[in-house]
Symmetry: D2
Subunit: 246 residues, 4 copies
């Protein structure tokens, strides 16, 4: 499979370049960054591009790729409903071409969220604990919030009863934040990177699903999976989870 | 739903009786044990039975239930291929009746095995750690062995490469037991009950799925789930996992 | 060593009786409960008593034991400053006799608190997570609060700087309760018993100290340690930690 | 406190330079590496040096420092009994000067080993689990082996009975490696760095002490502690644990 990289000299793009070069089944065709001609993608027979660039240029990049039938795996941010509608329009005119836009390429994080959501209706109790470095500005983390929302939705749909909690006295904050009825706790500890644990419990047993992200290169296996599978998903796909068979 | 319990005065059966009585959506019709007439199941309009009895009597119990169109959730052991074939024959003549035979009713354990199997092909590394009380005779545990076999099969099917391991020097046993290429470690610690952790890792991240069984009543939620769902699974089903939508 | 048990037919007392009978180096002399004559302790040559009785009777029990030079290991509650002063007065007149009053006999819990306190000044960050069954009324748990207070005091004494935390936006409660500047988080999960984790972190590393109490018999090893060591601690001792060489 | 760094352009030395410059209470006087004059240490009024150099040059470095009454914190390897005897001789002639030689500067690792050793005699069971990246050559890790040896020695000294283990059937290696009677398990997982967990258990409870090293900069707080405290430890000290009050 012939792969090009847009934003190839950026921090993330450079990691992608290296990961593609290392993978036995992928060939790097060309890296394109500011000042380079995007037409090199066509000249080199690129089949899939990876785009970690900037909201200002990503739409032009995608227009070019879709026009030339090149699949795209996109980690760039800034897609609102208007942009997504525009992309769907372009893709309708290029049947067979696939674009994946993913806010998170960590397969571990995606599976953690997915498994927690599947398991949540089978247990009486479920809470989320996230642990990060102390320079993080928001608490709880965006991933923890999204996980709690997904869990709450799954329980609503399954008709799960409220989670039992007899707490009647104590200190403010001891039971964490309430996200759609799911308790979420955030720790800030020097030395940690990004970690999350979902604890589920029923009569006499608990199930714990924990994701530890120890290095930011953890996104590369997800990008490679996106490259390998996007060809089977024509049209617009939002979220890497849809390319995993889970 | 009207539920009867076979083996109602046994240790496990008594727990099932209590769990059924506590559940809002289930009515206990009758408990049947040695010396009681099984016909009481019919007299009381029982729709589903739970059988935790003995290999010597379970086939007679099931013959009666199937003949009368009563679904059965069975935790009794001792089913070989002959017995399963016999059951399938009886069920063929009683369309709409369902029998579930399950070696394990812990939903946490089932999900732990299932999620590990799904996740295994997405990571480079995976190992299994089980922890039990020190009076256990076998190491590794049956559940750990089965988990490793399922993981190995999933990786074979997905074409996963061998798990990396540069160990070239050390002590015998340090890397655990080898079950189909998956490393399995068993700890024996006073104070513990039955616990298992599956550790999966890829570039820069790990995913850990842990099941803690702290009390043997952990089987009851699985039995209740079996009772509630067996009606939708006519014929013979082996393993509670098939009744969970996962 | 000859050991008597006061409150021998109570739930806890009965466990102590059994533990003493099982220990090779201890002889049970007599169990005393409501309606029994306490003089049996003297008649049987009892050297140490264990008292798990009631605030209403414990002072009379201890008066008798101290008068007769019998050491006492006490798990009964209800000791205020007045009572402690009274005990000290009695003990002054019976040199060589020791009384241990302990709110917690779990050696695991005591070591967890002790190690956390020792370690806390060596790390930039420290937080406490406690996990209990959902029928618990208070959050955080008393043990978690006490742990946080001990950690805070140790850091104050060592001149540790404030714990770093850049949180500037988020949801109420996400960062837990504040106990003397230490963040404490409480989870309530069906299936759990009583668990606590102290997470400490510095540049590039973390240290986690976790105590899991899975069964209430966990107090018995601490009681046995108290019995064996109280003879070496004449006078009044409050807290089992003082009898452990840690 | 005025601090010099020997080997200041090496990988580790450069980290030390940065850590010293960042610390409010420490002043960097001079970095010395190959080709630089060591006399700069004296010219700049250096009080403490840190030496991460090479076995070939470390003895000359220390001779110079001891002669000039400069304390030394040494992470360089290659000290045998002869070298240690030589150092002791030099230090005898320079009373008040302290030299610390430490194989491990991670405070987390040191406390994990120390706490495990203290706790081990109080519990019936104890096992060690270490987890590392899959490119590690030895299993178990040196730290895990040393931890097990320290635990075994502490239990021997306390007269602890053998650890209970009823395993009578199973697979080779399932129960780990045997280090002086302590079971040690090694996992090799992509994405991990260096992690160790000591699990202790008694009746109804467990205590778990876990160290996670996520980045090699984890040695710097230990080096800074060495710098700050070596002045109070004249003579030769081997092992950072002796400078911690634990």
């Amino acid at each position: 499979m012939r792969v090009g990289v847009l934003g190839s000299r950026g921090k993330v793009g450079a990691e992608v370049v290296q990961a593609v070069e290392t993978a036995d089944d992928l060939d790097l065709t060309v890296g394109v960054d500011q000042g380079d001609a995007i037409s090199a993608l066509v000249d080199t027979g690129t089949q899939v591009v990876v785009d970690f660039t900037h909201p200002d240029v990503v739409m032009d990049n995608l227009r070019f790729c879709i026009d030339h039938g090149i699949h795209a795996v996109v980690g760039t941010t800034g897609f609102d409903d208007d942009r997504l509608a525009t992309l769907r329009g372009w893709l309708a005119e290029s049947p067979g071409t696939g674009v994946l836009i993913a806010p998170n390429f960590s397969i571990g994080a995606i599976l953690m969220m997915r498994f927690s959501t599947i398991a949540a209706p089978f247990f009486e109790s479920v809470e989320v604990v996230e642990l990060h470095h102390p320079t993080k500005a928001d608490a709880p983390s965006g991933t923890a919030r999204r996980t709690a929302e997904m869990i709450a939705a799954a329980r609503r749909e399954a008709g799960s009863p409220p989670i039992p909690d007899a707490t009647s006295t104590g200190l403010d904050g001891a039971r964490g934040a309430d996200v759609d009825g799911i308790r979420v706790h955030g720790l800030r500890i020097r030395g940690l990177v990004a970690h999350q644990e979902v604890v589920l419990g029923g009569l006499g047993e608990t199930l714990t699903i924990r994701h530890d992200s120890l290095d930011r290169v953890s996104f590369t296996p997800g990008v490679l999976t996106g490259i390998r599978r996007i060809g089977d998903f024509p049209g617009l796909t939002i979220g890497l989870e849809h390319l995993l068979d889970v």
